[in-house]
Symmetry: none
Subunit: 410 residues, 2 copies
Amino acid sequence: MQAKIITIGDEILVGQTVDTNATYIAKELNAIGIKVSEILSITDTEAHIIKSVDAAMEDNDFIILTGGLGPTNDDITKKVLTDYFDDELVLYPDILARIQEFFIGFNKPFLPVNKLQAMLPKKAEIIENDLGTASGMLFKKGKTLTFSMPGVPFEMKGLFAKFIEIVKSKYALGDFYHQTLLLAGIGESYLAEMIKDWEAISRDNGVGVAYLPSIGELKLRLTGTINQKEFIDQQIAYIQNTYPNYVVGNAEDKLENVIGELLLKTNKKLGTIESCTGGALAQKIVSVGGSSAYYEGSIVSYSYLLKENLVGVNKDVILKEGAVSEAVVREMAEKGRLKLGVDYCISISGVAGPDGGTEDKPVGTVWIAIATENITVAKRFNFGYNRSRNIQASVVAALNYLRLLMTNQI
Amino acid sequence: MQAKIITIGDEILVGQTVDTNATYIAKELNAIGIKVSEILSITDTEAHIIKSVDAAMEDNDFIILTGGLGPTNDDITKKVLTDYFDDELVLYPDILARIQEFFIGFNKPFLPVNKLQAMLPKKAEIIENDLGTASGMLFKKGKTLTFSMPGVPFEMKGLFAKFIEIVKSKYALGDFYHQTLLLAGIGESYLAEMIKDWEAISRDNGVGVAYLPSIGELKLRLTGTINQKEFIDQQIAYIQNTYPNYVVGNAEDKLENVIGELLLKTNKKLGTIESCTGGALAQKIVSVGGSSAYYEGSIVSYSYLLKENLVGVNKDVILKEGAVSEAVVREMAEKGRLKLGVDYCISISGVAGPDGGTEDKPVGTVWIAIATENITVAKRFNFGYNRSRNIQASVVAALNYLRLLMTNQI
């Protein structure tokens, strides 16, 4: 079964709004085994809506539309669809009563324009919107079911949940299956080279393989049918078991959450001493709600002076080895651990760029260390020329380094 | 002139990735007067790519493609486009040399698969990717220019900037004129209400007005033709002169750069003491290259203990007033200023959420203070329920607060 998602409205086409609705709908459809063939954003003109719906009719079982259902003049979706499906708008008294109640609840005057929201297509199935005044509309033509919803995200989500229930009850779904792993510490081409036989076996078995890279991280996804579940699970387990050093978790996991769980489970406290990343590591760690249970804080010792005065790094070591050196990150981690009173202290010092590179330590050179009560480990990385990329890559590398240390993989 | 954006890759269609690339591209195209007719996300199959490009050829001057240019087997865009445009892949030695250098820079082995990245269409214009190994490719057919870029956002942005320059130099887009102001500290609807007469005058003169909000900031854009330049400049100057407290600068300015320039000009040093923002403020400040000239660093005192032990906040004050209070942020800023040895010290303490709110201090309550040698100022904000939004809004508010203080507007 296949669906096309169509988002109506100029705000996406002028780049003012990111189309998170489409992402949400796609995820939900995939979860019940409906493949999304295309996602399309169009202007709210009659010609454009008709052309797009008409084209989608050709090869889709479902067409999901969002947007253009407001009470104002520029919202034309309802009228256009009603005409397209040879339907007519009639007053639904029960919907009108509900909308009036809605306005009373919000203590707002009920305007004539709001009554229009109860004028709905006669033959379509009307899905009540519990969170707003624009109803969902379900049109049937040939084998295709077309569902139109407002674009306001929380209203859309409420209506779409109802749509999913209707679809589940009417169709035999679930022939689609996928699994995704999150990896860190390895690039796309290296992983592909390393697992090329595994990839060939997957493809030979009709299972799709996709590499989805982001800075410092990489997702590896297998896609097939429910009949291939066992094979897909086996293939995924093989990667997990063979490369635990690279595998952070499943698609829903994030490195910062995985670290958080490890720290909570072992009842350990974390602190950080940052230089070139300038607080980005701390920021990633506290992006997890509840991180105050295991994270104490950070010293962002951006200047030499703070490294010396606040962290307590030996001035002679900085002068002799330079701030970006193994000796200095080790001191930062060790002295920092005591200053912050934590079990694990991560330190980072590097040349983020664009300036400050030397032949020995070009832009992108980053030293990361982690100190515990018993041991201090340190490693040199090189992330290349882009400042913002260096900062992000350093943060991922540091968190992954901690993950490896905490899971005894260093 | 009209463009269609096509995003290639399953990650969007399965709902794993939000298509922020399309939003970025749409915004940039609109800024130079190119209208986006449609945004389409498709699977990475040959048939789908060809069908979509072919359909887009009909009525678009530009087709912008992202994705499917990686070195792995699932990336087929380059091959498909090369065939579609009757071109052939040949080795570009200079690109190969650059890619090899790239790998040397990263200190990583150069794999045979990476050499494929230097195999590029012969007739197409190749746009070098300074931030990765997949080149941009510009194909011309009839009146339509098709530009293919990798989907990794920061690589895409680098390449797309080059594309924009090419388009600007080749096409007469010059009858189009726009000016944009960056504002902070005021919301969209309040600004619109405040300047409604100004907006009406702009519209009456045929000049388009757009409000482009982001978290804590707002861009105000006027769009017209080059003949309206004088009028547009006057209108912009009016806003700048009437509301200097809200106007940060032009569209290219960023709050963190404006702060940096003010600090450099006055030869002052900045430091920060953060709690709920967890390093996000420091990170924004150091995102500016060369910020080490005026930024000393930060203490991210996420826990009570660090506020007390590291910053030196009086324990009794924390216990009596709570960590999120005027008294505590004032102490954080004042004691922090001395600890960090800086001229200006910003401190932030708030309830980022999702937990930790009380009736007095609901989630979103944030106190910000700035201490100088002579004065300490403090202000309470409320940013609402979303954790990540609270953190971002706090950072913007803190930087804007410093801007106001340094320009004698507090």
